[in-house]
Subunit: 189 residues, 2 copies
Amino acid sequence: MYEEIIDDLQRRLSSKRFAHTLGVARAAVALADRYGEDPEEAYLAGLLHDCAKEIPLSQMQELVDNSSLTIDVDMYVNGALLHGVSGAILANARYGVRSSYILDAIRYHTTGRVGMTTLDKIIFLADYIEETRDFPGVEVLRKIAFEDLDQGVLAGYDNTIHHLLDQGLSIYYKTILGRNDIIRRIKSR
Amino acid sequence: MYEEIIDDLQRRLSSKRFAHTLGVARAAVALADRYGEDPEEAYLAGLLHDCAKEIPLSQMQELVDNSSLTIDVDMYVNGALLHGVSGAILANARYGVRSSYILDAIRYHTTGRVGMTTLDKIIFLADYIEETRDFPGVEVLRKIAFEDLDQGVLAGYDNTIHHLLDQGLSIYYKTILGRNDIIRRIKSR
């Protein structure tokens, strides 16, 4: 399935990003199996999650400018954040994805959001745990991800925030709102 | 100076909090000397920073309800955050402090804010580094605080965020906005 999309991505992405992309798609299917989601939707969202990651920031901004989306300035100036939104726009315009469920999972895969859907969580986590990833704690994260989806997402948020603290970098405040929301949901169940 | 306030605080605070309070006032004077601020203002802000910390949450909320201040709900339900705001109200109503410069330093001493004043930063940091504090990294923080006020505040924010991550607790999003603002200011100087 999705051979044309895979061929197009292979032409457009670096070999490292392409390997990561296939890894995320596969991890997303495994998580979908575990948590009762449609594996084809998960595979497609995984394939396309970084489809805009290697275009210049100015092109990401152009995609956003020509869309109906409103983006806050902290995200607009930061390609590491903006590639999710521009990826969702590209997934629709270039790859013909019409499902807002899939497009939102692409849009929010890096930042998370308040009220994440199951597919949002799966792509968010698959991005951390896919087979080519290698960072301190990745094995623990892989284990948590298959035990409890919300605890996995919380560990993913914490991983990102630790990294930003260690590097002295800004933290996107909506990432914090997403993490607070997951904590509320875990506590209230 | 301020003998009446000190006597009143000693009656109203636990002995541990009272010792902390005197420590913060002294550390604030030392930082004020280092950074060219008025030591009397720093001492008074330090004395009163936790004046509402030991009242019940319902009383903190009553102080806020009867004031003209607007507080977001995340802070309103959390005494660990709300005691700064209610402390500023009490500093005005009970201790006769009229200076908004001092009242703001009390109000924002735990959360920080975007656009912190020098006195805000001094009280925020004095709260971490005063002589009775003992936690991993406190000596490093004491050193940074006297080398560079903004880098000290950044290290204070990071300390708080690490603690909240380790405990699996929510992070107040305005703390993140304050930290991002300090990073911007450090980079742009």
